[in-house]
């Protein structure tokens, strides 16, 4: 019976016209793929928004309990007024952005792993969406969607806080104009946007690495993402008594501050949470976009990206 089954095809050749249906425009499949990522990962907007709401709540509570702060603000000199307004705005931006980075990290760790674990990869692969578009959509979540959503939330939160302050000042018979006169609002938002963008580009290889581990690991992607790197740093320290890997990690974490802004040391990573302190004159986009650190990072991110596209094709459900 075997031989009869085989003889059926023995003389045939692979011929016949290729008849395929025209593809959907790639922009459309990409858009829907991005939309699907947001549907699945509602924490992309819920997490930063929750932190923002909590911060507004905390500031409101504090101002209602200590309304004398507002009178104090009204009586300050101009420099101190500016500082007193900029610092809370900086805290809001810093905390919301930090939240969004954390969301991005955990998103990446699950993005390629989750669909294999729950076998939904069979459903996604049954649709005419290429691995390239799928990975592009997943990479765009931490690189584009999260930053845009987060920035909008940051600006909205800052405006809500400033409006709240104004209303409370008016209610206490104080001149609320001081807020809008002293705070360099547009300048502050430009600096925040610029710093956030620089950080996102700087972190591209980190997101790439996390996506790669997520696409490759058969279990515990978080462990695989962190432990080998830590182990390498420790082995290096013990074997060679050097700390290159450790410094490389530190540089990747906060090196963009030194590259993107003048007059802020690379080591003072905390400065980015108070990006609002920085005047426009200290922005150095030229230096940033020509920095070796940015480009080596982007090349590494590109390599990880290519590897993830390939893994998406090869890896089967766990």
């Amino acid at each position: 019976m075997n031989s009869s089954a085989e003889s059926v095809v023995s003389e045939t050749t692979f011929v016949g016209p290729v008849r395929t249906t025209a593809a959907m425009p790639i922009a459309q499949t990409l858009l829907w793929s991005v939309r699907r990522e947001i549907w699945e990962n509602r924490s992309i907007y819920i997490a930063p928004a929750s932190v923002a709401v909590a911060l507004v709540g905390a500031f409101t509570f504090s101002l209602l309990r200590h309304p004398e702060v507002l009178a104090h603000l009204a009586g300050m000199d101009e420099d101190n007024q500016r500082l007193a307004l900029v610092v809370p705005c900086g805290i809001v931006a810093g905390l919301v952005i930090m939240t969004s980075v954390l969301v991005g990290v955990f998103y990446c760790l699950d993005a390629m792993y989750g669909e294999r674990r729950d076998r939904s990869i069979f459903f996604w692969k049954s649709l005419p969406v290429s691995d390239l578009v799928t990975v592009l959509a997943k990479m765009s979540a931490p690189m584009v969607v999260l930053p845009v959503v987060t920035f909008v939330i940051v600006v909205a939160t800052q405006l809500v806080l400033l409006l709240l302050c104004s209303v409370l000042m008016l209610a206490h018979g104080l001149n609320a104009g001081v807020i809008w006169r002293q705070l360099p609002l547009p300048e502050m938002e430009v600096v925040t946007l610029y710093g956030f963008m620089a950080m996102t580009l700087w972190y591209a290889p980190v997101y790439g690495w996390l996506l790669f581990v997520s696409s490759w690991a058969k279990r515990a992607p978080l462990m695989w993402a962190v432990l080998p790197v830590l182990a390498a740093a420790i082995v290096e320290r013990i074997a060679f008594n050097t700390t290159y890997i450790w410094h490389m990690l530190k540089y990747r974490e906060s090196g963009f501050v030194g590259a993107a802004f003048a007059g802020i040391g690379e080591r003072s990573g905390d400065a980015r949470h108070f990006a609002a302190f920085i005047p426009l004159s200290q922005l150095t986009p030229g230096a940033f976009f020509s920095s070796l650190g940015l480009w080596t990072g982007l090349v590494a991110a590109g390599l990880f990206f290519a590897a993830v596209v390939r893994m998406r094709r090869y890896r089967e459900p766990i």
Partner: protein, 287 residues
């Protein structure tokens, strides 16, 4: 026109051989039933056809290489590779929106029509649906795609009897139009008896039987042989013999019906009987 053509298809997982040089050819407009025990290589073969797993050998589906051209292939092929693979977080409405957004041949109205016959709500998430409802949803999505090839791997697993019958009726009456090709695997051999046009048995990564249902009628015959004719019947070398109420039921391959009529009541074997006979034989060979 050939829909699927494979030559020397081979796939190994470490030392175990999942596909051992499979040759197969499925013409357009056929409904092929792929039958085999667990671990026979059915799913691996389907996964290779759908571009889900790499393989050795030659394989063309609708003239495309599934492994390197999966996304192009999926514009004309749709499949249910496994039950319950719809993402659990997804809402029914999102599933409709998404498939409509990425698939050029998806007819949303048709899918809505299928869903209208069920109790599935648009706002429900997949994780809140019963197992049967998830399958219904998946089938509604897949059957609304105007594909040239539909691949179903155990489509009725977890469905109750009533819905299984409805499913195959819908497949034949509303989906199959004579030009589409359908490949279906199932453990419930009897339910596809009157659905498939072609039959393939797979065992140990090989195709052990490949014939159309028309050929099956001509080639195989099952005879209820009384004790008085048993010796004469055995001389014709039946493929398989079993005892029913003191009489022997023998299954013959390629023996002239004119000869068999003299031995007892002759009928065409069911797929299940043929499966047992052929698998028994190949198991013996394997030993």
């Amino acid at each position: 026109m050939t829909c699927i053509e494979a030559r020397g298809l081979r796939k190994t997982y470490g030392k175990s051989v999942a596909l051992d040089g499979v040759n197969m050819r499925v013409e357009e407009g056929r409904i092929l039933g792929l039958i085999g025990p667990n671990g026979a290589g059915k799913s691996t073969a389907l996964h290779a056809i759908l571009g889900l797993t790499p393989y050795q050998g030659e394989l063309k589906v609708l003239g495309l290489d599934p492994w390197t051209e999966r996304d192009a292939l999926m514009r004309d092929v749709c499949f249910i590779a496994d039950v319950a693979v719809l993402p659990r977080w997804m809402k029914v409405s999102q599933a409709l929106d998404y498939v409509a957004g990425v698939h050029p041949r998806f007819d949303r109205a048709k899918a809505e029509g299928f869903l209208a016959k069920t109790t599935i709500k648009r706002g429900s998430r997949v994780k809140d649906l019963s197992k049967g409802m998830v399958t219904q949803l998946h089938l509604a999505l897949v059957m609304a795609i105007d594909a040239k090839l539909l691949v179903l791997d155990e489509p009725t697993l977890g469905l109750d009897l009533l819905y299984r019958k409805q499913f195959y009726d819908a497949l034949l009456n509303e989906y199959f139009d004579g030009t589409r090709t359908i490949v279906v695997t199932t453990h419930q051999v009897e339910e596809i008896q009157h659905v498939v046009t072609d039959l393939m048995f797979v065992n140990h990564g090989r195709i052990v039987l490949d014939c159309s249902m028309d050929t099956l009628d001509v080639r195989y015959a099952e005879v209820m042989v009384g004790p008085e004719h048993a010796a004469a019947a055995r001389a014709l070398k039946p493929l398989y013999e079993r005892q029913v109420f003191g009489r022997s039921v023998m299954l013959f391959d390629g023996v002239d019906r004119g000869v068999l009529v003299g031995l007892g009541e002759v009928r065409t074997p069911s797929i299940a009987d043929l499966f047992v006979a052929v698998m028994g034989e190949t198991q013996g060979v394997a030993r």
